[in-house]
């Protein structure tokens, strides 16, 4: 069993890296000071998209300070979402080796389990977004996000991390349990993964 898990894990990491690496790069760039001379690192493009600049100016805040605070909020949001995605996807991938698939035709019945795990995962993503963007007192920048922007962040985060979860799970699920994962058996190289 352990050997089979170890055989699958590299594929899991490949799947997770597809969207995990861009996420890590984004987090690093958000943690970097704004005055770094780089196109990507230390830039304020995320704040430009999601932050309510008019509101910031109306409140008499320094836009540079507000952008730095927003970047910090967005970085921590992504750290949390990334951790949750890794926990759920890695947990499923390892756990799928222990599913009681003991005869032909049984794997698809575990699709129900996968849906439950996926549902809980999506719920956790949305909940974390809400906590960080709405209820947390640690991040003052949360007041600089408008309602529509908040909805956009939640939707985009759910799609992005949901996709990361799905790709890593599709590649990292135990071979015998692939029928349980949506479209996992439609991959072109499915026989060799």
């Amino acid at each position: 069993m352990i050997v089979n898990i170890l055989k699958t894990l590299p594929w899991y990491f490949v799947g997770a890296a597809v969207l995990g690496v861009p996420s890590i790069l984004l987090i690093i760039s958000l943690f970097a000071p704004l005055d770094v001379e780089s196109i990507f690192f230390g830039s304020g493009w995320v704040a430009d998209i999601f932050m309510d600049l008019e509101g910031v100016l109306e409140d008499g805040q320094d836009p540079a300070m507000a952008t730095a605070a927003f970047n910090l909020l967005f970085a921590w949001l992504n750290v949390n979402l990334l951790i949750i995605t890794i926990i759920f996807s890695l947990g499923w991938c390892i756990g799928s080796h222990f599913l009681n698939i003991n005869e032909p035709g049984k794997a698809k019945f575990f699709g129900f389990y996968w849906l439950i795990v996926t549902g809980v995962f999506v719920g956790a993503i949305i909940l974390v977004c809400f906590i960080v963007l709405d209820f947390s007192s640690s991040f003052t920048a949360s007041q600089d996000i408008t309602g529509p922007s908040q909805t956009n962040i939640i939707i985009l985060s759910t799609i992005y991390y949901g996709l990361m979860y799905w790709i890593s799970v599709i590649l990292g699920t135990a071979r015998q349990a692939r029928s349980a994962v949506l479209l996992a058996n439609k991959l072109p190289a499915r026989n060799f993964l």
Binding site: M1, V3, N4, A107, Q176
Partner: protein, 514 residues
């Protein structure tokens, strides 16, 4: 190296059953010719072994076709190429209802020779119908065997002649004989056939390359004779087994002292004797269950044929028995060689048979449209679809008649393996305080000692609780669940030479091992 095995009498046939299953588990040599000797042509055990041999050969031939369904040469499943004559049983005495008087032409003998024969055989023995064997009378069997000519025209003896000719050509030949010491056919055939082989060797002037081994079964079972049995009827009497054995051992001790007939002899017996549930004088109703001591004879033969077995100049006599307690354990099963673990291979085969019979065999049986429901599963795509894909059909040919025939044959063979091990498990210790701690049988089979021809019946379907018990199927071994097997078949690498259904069969077999 050429290997020949001769099973004499009912015990010989039963030991061959164990040997065939051991060969399918990969414990046998690359090649083996098997023949049986029994005057009781209709004997239930002999027929059962005959059918088993034919099934094995069919299956092996179907699964080792280069370019077709091929397990490949590296696979241990059905490793040994077992060959037989068209009729694998040799009847020492031909013709309908032969008697000793007819064989020795009693009526044509001179009065003084007749007198000598009258001293050795009473009238009842001389006139006994021998079509059902020698009924526990080795004196009759010995005379009958010696009266037959071992010439090359006889298909059985022609194999021995060929073997010795091969030895003359420089090839190493190993011949192994299995028989009981206490019955009729075995007790009479064992020394006489061995001596005939040596005589042929001597006639042909072959002094080396021919090695002769044998397994002698000392008493290991008995039975209650029905009270209604007529005192005058001739049959193998269990109360005479020990006396017969004592006399026979004295004979062998003399034989071995002055004449090196055998290179290696394996001797085994059992104490307490296993009580057979039903007595049958012979014929097609004599269906004795497989018993554990017979495994020793089978493994002895495989050890003899093993390449690592170096045969010395001295005559070697091996004896084996189980541990001192009343429990029969896996550790009581000897290895065929230092790098061929009998226990592991047999366990592998049992698990394969179980998972095939109840899990994979049924899944692969039927038309393609029925089987296709598994086409989304990794194991099916990797091991079946990819390797049975037909370019003309543009789909898998798994549903085709020839493939379905193989799938059915493997299932039948799997049932034979499970029935064999379960029956041995039940019957060896029946009516005794012994315990067989090899496998857990209750959850997949039922035992009915009164049903002579089918003492063990396998369940048609298993419940989910039964399937969970698979983990505990083998005592004294690392637990392996059906889910583990499912996982293994998805990960174990296939071999390039494997083709068609051979890929799946070998991967499943390997998935059931360590």
């Amino acid at each position: 190296m050429k290997n020949f095995l001769i099973g004499i009498g009912g015990t010989g046939a039963k030991c061959i059953e164990h040997l065939v299953h051991s060969c399918s588990a990969g414990l046998g040599p690359d090649q083996l010719w098997v023949g049986m000797v029994d005057q009781d042509e209709a004997n239930g055990n002999v027929n059962k072994t005959k059918i088993l041999l034919s099934k094995y050969q069919n299956l092996r031939n179907s699964l080792r076709v280069e370019g077709g369904n091929d397990l490949s040469s590296v696979s241990n499943l059905f490793k040994t190429n077992i060959t037989t004559n068209n009729d694998s049983v040799w009847l020492p005495l031909k013709g309908a209802d032969p008697t000793l008087e007819e064989i020795i032409h009693y009526n044509a003998l001179k009065p003084e020779v007749k007198g000598l024969l009258d001293c050795l055989y009473d009238p009842q023995e001389r006139q006994m119908n021998l079509s059902e064997g020698f009924r526990g009378r080795p004196n009759i069997g010995a005379a009958a065997m010696l009266a037959t000519a071992a010439n090359e025209n006889d298909s059985f003896w022609s194999q021995v002649h060929k073997a010795i000719d091969a030895a003359k050509g420089g090839e190493e030949v190993r011949i192994f004989i299995i028989g009981s010491i206490f019955g009729g056919t075995g007790a009479s055939g064992f020394p006489n056939i061995a001596r005939k082989i040596r005589a042929i060797q001597s006639e042909k002037g072959v002094t080396s390359n021919v090695h002769l081994g044998g397994a002698l079964m000392l008493p290991y079972f008995d039975y209650d004779v029905p009270e209604e049995m007529d005192e005058g009827t001739i049959y193998a009497k269990p109360n005479q087994f020990l006396d017969q054995t004592k006399a026979a051992l004295e004979y062998y001790s003399k034989l071995f002292e002055y004449n090196k007939i055998f290179d290696q002899v394996y001797i085994t017996g059992w104490d307490p004797l296993t009580k057979l549930p039903k007595f049958e004088i012979g014929g097609n109703t004599q269906f004795n269950s497989p018993l554990f001591p017979e495994t020793y004879a089978a493994l002895g033969a495989l050890k003899f044929f093993n390449k690592d077995n170096e045969i010395s100049e001295e005559q070697q006599i091996f004896h084996i028995g189980k541990n001192e307690s009343t429990d029969i354990l896996w550790s009581d099963i000897p290895n065929v060689s230092s790098n061929l673990n009998s226990k592991d291979r047999i366990i592998n085969l049992i698990r394969f048979a179980f998972s095939y019979n109840w899990m994979f065999g049924p899944a692969l049986t039927g038309t393609l449209s029925k089987i296709k429901k598994y086409s989304n599963e990794h194991w099916f795509k990797r091991l079946i679809l990819t390797h049975t894909y037909d370019d003309d059909l543009k789909s898998s040919n798994i549903g085709r008649e020839n493939n379905q025939e193989i799938i059915k044959l493997v299932q039948e063979y799997s049932q034979d393996v499970l029935t064999w091990i379960a029956d041995m498990n039940y019957s060896t210790v029946a009516n005794s305080d012994q315990r067989m701690d090899l496998i857990l049988t209750d959850f997949f089979s039922e035992y009915d000692p009164k049903n002579n021809s089918k003492k063990v019946s396998l369940k048609e379907k298993l419940s989910s609780d039964d399937k969970k018990q698979f983990k505990k199927l083998i005592y004294d071994n690392e637990e392996l669940s059906l889910a583990n097997i499912m996982s293994n078949i998805s990960y174990i690498k296939t071999n390039r030479d494997q083709k068609g259904l051979g890929v799946f069969m070998d991967i499943l077999f390997r998935s059931c091992g360590k």
